[in-house]
Symmetry: C2
């Protein structure tokens, strides 16, 4: 109901009378008043003028179910939202929810993570209020061996969202980072629980540095934020909603086709590795080559000496001139 | 210490004096006496004769850490053992332990499962005391896409163990069942938790019908037990220990080589599907063909009309004349 009232207030340019709200939503004036007060507590500035009604003056950039839902136009992505002011890791929260039957598309959002996770057990710095630390829970009809492609789909959706909302050129560092001006603004950590041929669930965690103003010395050279690059304070909720909207469509297309063919051209255009010398760190050793783009199954194609083409499906790839993993 | 005393008693044909035990293990006679009593409580029959010592008369077929460990000759497989008289599912117990740092090779054993799991959420009937319901926790250096091959490695190890211990011809129904005389005696359920290119852990659950004397009507045609097929009561612990011994070696070879080439010949000999007409149930539809064996990556090769060879990596395959999934 709070979400519906918020939506009505947003749809109205000037004042919306209490009576109109009552009629539209079928609740009492006292109930309207109570929900409006709850919204105020969450940081919304709502003016109430006798004989005129309610007027929404300011929407805070907060992670609440109502705020996310009132801006969403998706069918299932983010239709369930769980917001935390503090959580160990949104991926962990999503995994626990998944084990208990959490539904496809549920979004887990935190203002702060106490032990945010990067790949391979690395730490991810998640200070309060300055980033988007979120995880989406998925139950894909997909073979486990195809799940890694979901990271690439998410990377594409998030770079589109950043570009659309913030007007910054967002590139992808295969397989799971989004970079702006050569520095990382977003990392993606996809985890799954599966039987050998059947995925129980996948959680895709995204950490987006939004209003971080300064990074620790050791990250300065490799990490940046949307605020630093765009040189202005950035609203977080529009990025989330735009991401979910792109992702819902991209995901459905991907699941139907079970490959990345339709995304290849755009993905490879955004691929910061493309045409550049890369260093590939594999369990067996290290070598260099020139990245040529991804193939329909999400592998990175690297050209080695004498034109030999290698498909990289895992391991780490660093790009010369682009800051890689520390 | 209990395990060490048990081992000493097993190594001795006749009587072993309390003093010899004290000297060998560096503990007091009272301590020896206490541990011997604990063993008696677990069902061991130990005779104690003044001036002669202890004599092990009967070893019960129980799942205790001491009993398993006293018979194991492995380096890591089953070196940690967790025994339950009742648990929901050994796979679940192993997954919880894994999340809390459980070590590679830990074995989870239950006399009874209250909600034993089959593939794809199916139920697995696990009555008390008559079967081996166990799970081994692994932390393999392996790409998630290769994890399905572990099921095949385990199937091979368990069929060898059944053959060696019970003298029954054990065949494999690809990918995850072991059959004797065309009926299922063992099912394998492998689950994993992974990042896209990094396995957190794998749990391999094995349900072996050992001394089950009768099956419910609806399973009679498809399921059997070692006792029914061998026409005699069967000891469970030797099967477990023999399995672990084979599996440890097979696993290490597989992880080093990351493919099944070395197992192909034996696997395909044991493959009950081989050379037979099979019905393949795929998401896209159903078709028949003749199974030709597995390839080095664990896919089942099926020959369709006009000699077309298809690699089956998932889905279900039923074999004509062999009872399949219900």
């Amino acid at each position: 109901m709070k979400t519906k009232i918020l939506q009505k207030l947003k749809e109205t340019d000037g004042y919306l009378s209490g009576q109109e709200l009552c009629d539209a939503l079928g609740i009492s004036r006292t109930a309207v008043w109570k929900y409006v007060n709850k919204l105020k507590e969450e940081g919304y500035r709502i003016e109430a003028v006798p004989n005129k009604g309610y007027h929404l003056l300011h929407v805070p950039d907060v992670f609440t179910e109502s705020e996310i839902k009132s801006r969403l136009s998706t069918q299932w992505a983010g239709r369930e939202v769980v917001c935390y002011s503090l959580v160990d890791s949104t991926n962990n929260a999503a995994k626990i929810a998944a084990e208990q039957g959490g539904v496809h598309g549920t979004l887990f959002l935190a203002e702060q993570q106490s032990s945010g996770k990067g790949r391979r057990g690395r730490n991810w710095v998640s200070p309060p209020g300055t980033g988007i630390w979120m995880t989406i829970l998925l139950r894909p009809q997909l073979e486990p061996s195809c799940a890694s492609m979901l990271t690439l789909v998410a990377a594409l959706s998030v770079s589109r969202a950043i570009e659309e909302v913030n007007g910054l050129k967002a590139q992808i560092k295969w397989p799971n980072d989004v970079v702006v001006n050569g520095k990382k603004v977003c990392g993606i950590l996809t985890e799954m629980s599966a039987e050998m041929e059947w995925i129980h669930y996948v959680v895709i965690g995204l950490g987006i540095n939004v209003n971080v103003e300064e990074f620790p010395k050791e990250l300065e050279a490799t990490a940046t934020s949307l605020r630093i690059e765009g040189k202005r304070e950035v609203e977080r909720v529009p990025i989330i909603c735009t991401f979910l909207s792109y992702f819902e469509t991209d995901y459905e297309n991907f699941i139907r086709e079970q490959n990345l063919s339709r995304f290849l051209e755009e993905y490879n255009k955004r691929l910061v590795n493309c045409g550049r010398e890369v260093r590939v760190l594999e369990p067996k050793g290290e070598y260099t080559g020139v990245a040529r783009g991804i193939d329909p199954l999400g592998a990175l194609i690297v050209e080695r000496e004498k034109g030999e083409m290698v498909r990289i499906t895992s391991g780490e790839v660093s790009v010369r001139g682009i800051y890689g993993y520390v």
